[in-house]
Amino acid sequence: MPFVFKSKKISADTEKETKIHPAGAWKNYSKVRRINAEQCRNQIGNKIIDVENISLSYENKAVVNNLSFQVYQGDYFCIVGENGSGKTTLLDALLGLKKPDCGKIDLLDSLKRNDIGFLPQHTEVQRDFPATVFEIVMSGCIGRHSKGPFLSKNDRQTAFTNMEKLGITSLSSRSYRELSGGQQQRVLLARALCSATRVLMLDEPVTGLDPKAASDMYSLVHDINKKEGITIIMISHDISSVLKYASHVLCLDRSKYFFGPVENFIKYRDKACEKQYGDDALYGNSDAYKFGGTDIN
């Protein structure tokens, strides 16, 4: 599926290139908002996450510097960037697993940590753990009712509903370690959905999935975003799906950050490609190579 740049859609007064500086990007963003009001209307909710000038580091090795962005209820927010650019670290900070060195992350509009669901990056979960699918999905319910030590009937119901959504009900008593990678990914997504009442954070959800499973995953996430109004924050390397589904993009690349609606990202990306910045040419520029191959059949 070759994708088409849609940059022509953007009207003349947003033509000015989005500044790398997040504040500039934000100004531009509000302009685009007015222009594309119709397109965006169903997406404008309250501001729920406000990240202001945060810096993140590991043992004095800086990973993210001075980054600001905002997330609104109902956004489909994608984070892109090359390996090691600090996407997972940023997500950790949003989840409250890592303290920023400076700056602050505000959860607004009475968003609480246990309204957030989380699908970790593929490699991190133990592969040979003796647990059934149901037990794992249920463990997503723990955070949302922190009252008693035991899980309730309500939680079982939530777990079943989410397993149904992902089509893994028939696996419910199977052992997690006997499942294929794609099935395991579904189980972990069901678990994430159990704890996601308002926000769902996904760290490279399609790694290791075949193209069909990947597109299923994308349309499922899209449905969750549109039908249930759950805000999606997704880290992805799959640039064509980002362009297809995202409403906003944050691009982390070494010292340059881009943040803005997806239309501006397309333009930003075009520019970088045109300039042929060497390896600075924007991330995801391998599409020409991908589609340039010859078909053996």
Binding site: L97, N114, I116, P149, F150, S173
Partner: protein, 297 residues
């Protein structure tokens, strides 16, 4: 016919011998403590094994031996010195056990050998006159008879500690599952990971120090590792692993202690050998189960 007769008389002998033994309070104490300790060690073991912290358990028991030697030299009674030292070491080890796997491995090996050497050396230097040094060391390393010399207050202390540990594992069952399976997710759903790791460290140290009375410093880690490993051969859900592991552990401790009392074999070694048999038995069972399932398909 003859054989049966002999068998019956032997059996009668065994029972009369046992009922005779059980009339002594110290034998009853020994059985109560053995069952409590084996229950705790099995519950703890599941978490430790699944988190790949088995080596930490082993290292800690050596540290406990070293601390025990020091407290014997200084002349402090019972666990007053051993328990705090082991707890502090456990906290330190489990804290640093995160990313640096290889370093952690070597560090633990060094720590165990160092503590063992230091303890033995201290005992040797300070104990020039006594003739029974090797007997003392043997007791604390292999726990040969110390379980049969418990006083009433020892039993009470063991009872309180073990009850606390068991209560913890029952009340925090769901949280411990989530933490063991995926610590980052657990943290993201609002479980206080640091607190639970701290509690796990304290419990590990407690179980080891208390359990040394039963099996000695060198063998206590076997009581922690064997039952979960055996249970994992046949169980596929977390709950069944926990329950089976607890059953195996209690059964093996009971059988081992009976054998030790009847045939005057060392207690710790007998229990560990019964555990080993259980592991072999369950491995065979798991193998057969797999075979049967394969032929069914």
């Amino acid at each position: 016919m003859n054989n049966l007769f002999i068998f019956l008389t032997v059996k009668q002998n065994v029972f009369s011998k046992l009922s005779e033994y059980f009339s002594f309070s110290f034998v009853r104490y020994a059985f109560i403590v053995a069952i409590l300790i084996s229950l705790c060690s099995a519950l703890l073991g599941v978490s430790l094994v699944l988190k790949r912290y088995s080596m930490i358990g082993d290292g800690l028991s050596h540290v406990a031996f070293g601390a025990g030697a020091v407290s014997a030299v200084v002349g402090v009674a019972g666990m007053t010195l051993t328990l705090p030292v082991t707890v502090v070491t456990a906290i330190f080890l489990l804290k640093s056990g995160g990313r640096k796997k290889i370093m952690g491995d070597a560090a633990i090996a060094m720590l165990s050998a160092g503590a063992l050497a230091m303890g033995y050396l201290l005992l040797n230097i300070t104990n020039t006159s006594s003739s029974n040094l090797s007997g003392d060391v043997c007791t604390s390393l292999f726990g040969s008879t110390s379980i049969l010399t418990l006083s009433r207050s020892d039993v009470n202390l063991c009872f309180v500690l073990c009850a606390a540990v068991i209560l913890f594992f029952v009340l925090c069952y769901n949280r411990m599952f989530s933490l063991t399976f995926d610590e980052r997710f657990a943290g993201a759903t609002g479980i206080n990971v640091g607190l639970y790791n701290l509690l796990t460290a304290i419990i590990t140290a407690t179980v080891i120090v208390v359990g040394m009375k039963l099996a000695g410093a060198l063998l206590i880690s076997a009581l922690i590792i064997f039952p979960p490993m055996a249970a994992m051969r046949i169980c596929k859900s977390y709950r069944s692993v926990i329950l089976t592991s607890a059953l195996i552990s209690v059964f093996c401790a009971f059988t081992g202690l009976i054998l030790a009392v009847l045939y005057e074999t060392p207690v710790g070694a007998s229990i560990v050998c019964v555990n080993l048999c259980a592991l072999i038995f369950f491995s065979l069972l798991g193998f057969l189960k797999k075979k049967i399932r394969n032929t069914e398909i």
